[in-house]
């Protein structure tokens, strides 16, 4: 497909597809994303769907959205607000009203603006007929009727015809951005290989949408977004939860261990279970347990018996796993607990994102119970942090909590495919037959004990949750021994800091304002800081992935800036940790807690107030 003559080149653009939960908007958005990725754009995506599987049709509660940000420049967030909105019904338009850029393009399915649909969405009058959207480029497309018309002789039933209308919308957007349709055609062919009529009909509607956009004059020009200048290599599009799963698969391979996942379904973590369950072909064992507690306990059992053992959950599940995590800690067994954070407290906002489980991960257990805590910061680097969490767990025989969040887990972006065969090996701390071994004898540097795996002749021993003697591991109620053991366990986790890299800075080594963040806010913080630096502002970013222990140079970094501002999607949890660990510094805070990622604009606005 050749680029049209009047096409306008764009640096980057944000497109949001929104409709009823049943309208197939996630699929539509994913198709646009995959096609853009294959064209070489940099991109980031984020789905926004309701907690209810099928909220009442046509209501604002039932709106499902998918936002994609593509560019020929570096893209680090799915974008604050959309340049283009596709709204399949009045509810989708209403729900996204404040998320469209002034003067942006809105494509609506005008067939869906009937009195009934307007009422369901809570509109008193038809917003397409008054001045509500005068400031926008509003494109009214009768998508439902044109889809019906396209397929009237297809032999397809009415319900299936109705379901094809998302392809019409996708076709229109493909035209608008000069995208080829082959990728989606291939996808449809593969997905519905056994239903040729469905394939044929969907492709027909896709083309009809494309041609409709080409014909009408409502879309005055089309746009191109050229290839981004990104590192050489082979790429694929990857979702955060998938990347997490794959990081564990790689870690199992590099540690010579079998991978075991014990898990219980919970939004938004379940996709990790789904992904790993697919890969029995690589020897991955997944166990869907009867509850969260059995999820972690089965993983502890598997760890005791020699597997790379993990459990995956979200906030409420981590609360349930607390006691067992304490057991893994005192038994000093390797274990990775993934918490894909969501809005809390209690059931909270299951499908929304938040960073409010940091203190739970650090301290949410009885007794002195330190564990290593790390956090991923982009959808694709969930791979690296799952790998790193596994490395720390296996090489230091400790539980590690890996924090991601709903925004990272469900978000997607291009991933430069790692070559696992070229990655460093992980060397588990394991005792071998014939070795002079005591259950709680410790490595001098790490203070970690070696684990003897059942089946190893001569090293039979007993572990347990009762306090144990500092060498033999036998039950001990000795007061001095307890104090020694509490200190040893804490010091062991602290010493992990000697086995991790220094914290890096984006920006200048010294300066006016240091923005501090951790985990899933990286994309927005980085973009805000980068844009301000391009404006000549003296602002830098320290974005943390190692939370406990902190990198060794943390205090040194903080000492080099006049103002430190810690930004989090919670009420100030990381800043509490920093105030405790490094009380000599003054910390400003920027906190939002709305279940949403930070907007680059709000961050820049705030940082500017600190600069002036």
């Amino acid at each position: 497909m050749s680029t049209k003559n009047n096409a306008v080149d764009l640096e980057k653009v944000v497109i949001k597809f929104a409709g009823d939960s049943g309208d197939g908007m996630q699929l539509t958005g994913t198709q646009f994303t995959d096609t853009s990725a294959l064209l070489g754009n940099d991109l980031a995506t984020f789905p926004d769907y309701p907690a209810e599987i099928r909220a009442p049709i046509g209501t604002v509660a039932g709106v499902s959205g998918f936002q994609v940000h593509i560019g020929n420049v570096e893209i680090n967030t799915p974008g604050d607000i959309a340049d283009v909105l596709v709204a399949m019904n009045p509810a989708a338009l209403k729900a996204n009203r404040v998320w469209i850029k002034d003067g942006g393009t809105i494509i609506v399915n005008s067939d869906s603006f009937t009195k009934k649909d307007l009422e369901k969405a809570g509109y008193q009058t038809n917003p397409l007929e008054d001045e509500t959207f005068d400031a926008y480029n509003l494109v009214q497309a009768p998508i439902t009727s044109l889809t019906r018309e396209t397929l009237k002789d297809s032999g397809l039933d009415g319900k299936s015809i109705g379901r094809s209308k998302n392809m019409f919308a996708l076709g229109m957007v493909y035209w608008m951005f000069n995208r080829p349709m082959e990728q989606t055609e291939n996808f449809l062919n593969a997905k519905f290989a056994k239903k040729p009529l469905i394939v044929e009909s969907n492709i027909k509607v896709l083309h009809a949408g494309y041609n409709f956009a080409d014909t009408i004059e409502a879309l005055p020009s089309s746009y191109t977004v050229a290839k981004a200048d990104i590192d050489k290599g082979t790429y694929r599009n990857i979702m955060g939860n998938q990347a997490t799963a794959w990081g564990f698969i790689a870690a199992a391979e590099k540690s010579g261990k079998e991978l075991f996942l014990g898990s219980y379904p919970i939004t938004p973590a379940t996709d990790i279970l789904h992904e790993l369950a697919k890969h029995k072909n690589l020897g991955v064992k997944t166990f869907q347990a009867e509850d969260e507690i059995a999820g972690i306990c089965s993983a502890i059992g598997a760890s005791f018996a020699g597997d790379l053992a993990i459990t995956t959950t979200s906030g409420p599940g981590l609360a349930l796993k607390g006691e067992a995590l304490g057991l893994a800690m005192i038994a000093e067994l390797p274990l990775v607990v993934v918490n894909v954070q969501r809005g809390g407290p209690s059931t909270g906002l299951p499908t929304k994102t938040e960073q409010s489980d940091l203190l739970q991960a650090l301290y949410g257990r009885n007794g002195e119970s330190p564990v290593v805590v790390v956090a991923a910061s982009t959808p694709s680097n969930c791979f690296d942090w799952a790998f790193e969490a596994s490395r720390l767990a296996l090489e230091h025989n400790t539980p590690v909590v890996l924090l991601t969040d709903g925004y990272l887990g469900n978000g997607a972006g291009p991933w430069k495919i790692r070559s696992v065969k070229d990655m460093p090996n992980i060397n588990p701390l394991v005792a071998t037959q014939g070795e002079d071994w005591q259950p709680y004898a410790r490595d001098v540097e790490k203070l970690a004990r070696k684990h003897a795996i059942p089946g190893t002749k001569g090293l039979e021993h007993r572990l347990g949750g009762l306090e144990k003697d500092e060498l033999t591991g036998n039950v001990s109620y000795d007061p001095d021994n307890h104090e020694v053991m509490c200190s040893l366990r804490a010091e062991k986790v602290e010493r992990v800091t000697n086995f991790i890299p220094n914290q890096e800075i984006f920006g200048d080594e010294k300066g006016d304002v240091l923005v501090v963040g951790w985990g899933g806010t990286y994309g927005s913080l980085y973009t805000a800081v980068k844009e301000l630096r391009e404006e000549g502002k003296d602002v830098s970013l320290a974005h943390f992935n190692y939370i406990n222990p902190l990198p060794k140079n943390t205090a040194e970094i903080f000492s080099n800036y006049k103002t430190i501002v810690v930004c989090e999607i919670n009420k100030g949890q990381f800043v509490s940790l920093l105030r405790m660990k490094h009380p000599e510094f003054k910390y400003e805070q920027f906190n939002h807690i709305q279940g949403l990622p930070f907007k680059t604009t709000e961050l820049k606005e705030h940082f500017n107030t600190l600069l002036s």
């Binding site: 990725a37 070489g40 990728q183 290839k227 990104i230 590192d231 050489k232 082979t234 790429y235 694929r236 794959w246 698969i249 790689a250 391979e253 079998e258 075991f260 014990g262 890969h279 029995k280 072909n281 690589l282 020897g283 064992k285 166990f287 347990a289 009867e290 507690i293 059995a294 306990c297 089965s298 993983a299 502890i300 059992g301 598997a302 760890s303 005791f304 018996a305 020699g306 597997d307 053992a309 067992a324 057991l327 495919i417 790692r418 070559s419 696992v420 065969k421 059942p454 089946g455 002749k457 001569g458 039979e460 021993h461 007993r462 572990l463 347990g464 949750g465 009762l466 036998n474 039950v475």
Partner: protein
């Protein structure tokens, strides 16, 4: 370890160096000794045994066995044992538990382990009381029992552990009193030889908080009349004179005397532990004193695919039929693109 070594193991090889700290006279001592005597009779290397326990008096058991062991947290031992078995199916996994640990706080894990039929042995010490927390009623306490946590008598109905297990689809249930070491050894061996979740309920005596609670069944003077020892393929005959038997009268079991009312040995029910239908096993499992003797020995032992075997065969099949040999193969599959 060579086969020769396996056969030369004795009960001493399974005795750890830890001082046993149960109350003097506790039924647990006999159970421990029976286990230590039973294991040398099996063709398994010592390092391949794993004992997993939760919390409670019984759950200290792993500390006293010179095998791999893990004293874990309250109620969760079935889940931990499941993870051990799935990580390494070659290991022989024994879960030691009590009536509180298995049926109250751990009820969920207990029923699901049995439902899955994972190949572990669950040894349930049932003394109908909480011992470690000093004498509160448990889920198996008889209704009306007065304890510190219910001084006016409980209004709870008790679980019958083997009945609960049958409801979960159990493939192996058995019962044995702590007063019969030989029978305990035999039942432990039968449990280990059964593939699937094997439940052994031990009528255990808590000498401090619930002394002689099973006395009406296990007492020396009554045991012959109050215990029916089931043997596969043998008639259900019991009694001090071995002249009593169980017959099926309509839809109910009935105790009869051979030689009275024209009853002969041919009329007595013959035990079939391999019968898939649970009806008769359920009736046997729920027989209670004083109307009936209590069923002892192996009540049910039926073959069914185990969870671990199911997982192992799925793994084997998928590994055999895949084009992915390494994670690199997976990561480079599907839609990828090259940036030059």
């Amino acid at each position: 370890m060579s086969e020769l070594e396996v056969k030369t193991l004795t009960n001493k090889d399974f005795t750890s160096d830890q001082e046993v700290k149960w109350c003097p006279g506790c039924g647990d001592y006999a159970i421990l000794r029976s286990m230590q005597k039973a294991l040398p009779q099996l063709e398994t290397n010592k390092e391949d045994y794993v004992f997993i326990a939760g919390i409670g008096c019984s759950s200290r058991f792993p500390y006293y066995m010179n095998t791999y062991g893990f004293h874990t947290i309250h109620g969760r031992a079935p889940a931990i044992a499941t993870g051990v078995k799935l990580a390494n199916p070659k290991l022989k996994v024994w879960q030691i538990t009590g009536d509180g640990d298995a049926l109250a706080i751990g009820g969920n894990h207990f029923i699901h382990a049995i439902r899955r039929n994972i190949d572990i042995n669950i040894i349930l010490f049932n003394n109908e009381i909480y011992g470690l927390t000093k004498g509160q009623f448990s889920p198996t306490s008889q209704k009306g029992i007065k304890t510190k946590s219910n001084p006016h008598g409980t209004t709870d109905n008790p679980f019958i552990p083997v009945k609960l297990a049958l409801g979960c689809g159990s493939t192996f249930i058995s019962r044995v009193p702590d007063t019969n070491p030989k029978a305990m050894q035999a039942v432990f061996l039968a449990a280990e030889n059964h593939r699937g979740t094997s439940l052994v309920e031990i009528l255990q005596n808590c000498v401090i908080f619930n002394d002689k609670i099973h006395g009406a069944v296990t007492g020396k003077d009554v045991k012959k009349d109050m215990q029916l020892w089931l043997e596969d393929g043998k008639p259900m005959i019991f009694g001090s004179e071995m002249n009593k038997g169980i017959i099926l009268n309509g839809l109910k079991l009935e105790v009869v005397t051979i030689g009275e009312n024209g009853i002969t040995e041919e009329d007595i029910l013959v035990h079939d532990e391999k019968e898939n239908d649970i009806t008769l096993h359920m009736m046997l499992a729920t027989m209670s004193a004083p109307e009936f003797p209590v069923a002892m020995g192996v009540i049910r032992a039926v073959e069914q695919l185990t969870y671990d075997d199911g997982m192992a065969s799925q793994l084997e099949e998928n590994i055999k039929n895949t084009k992915f040999k390494t994670s690199d193969d997976l990561f480079n599959s599907g839609d990828t693109w090259v940036v030059n």
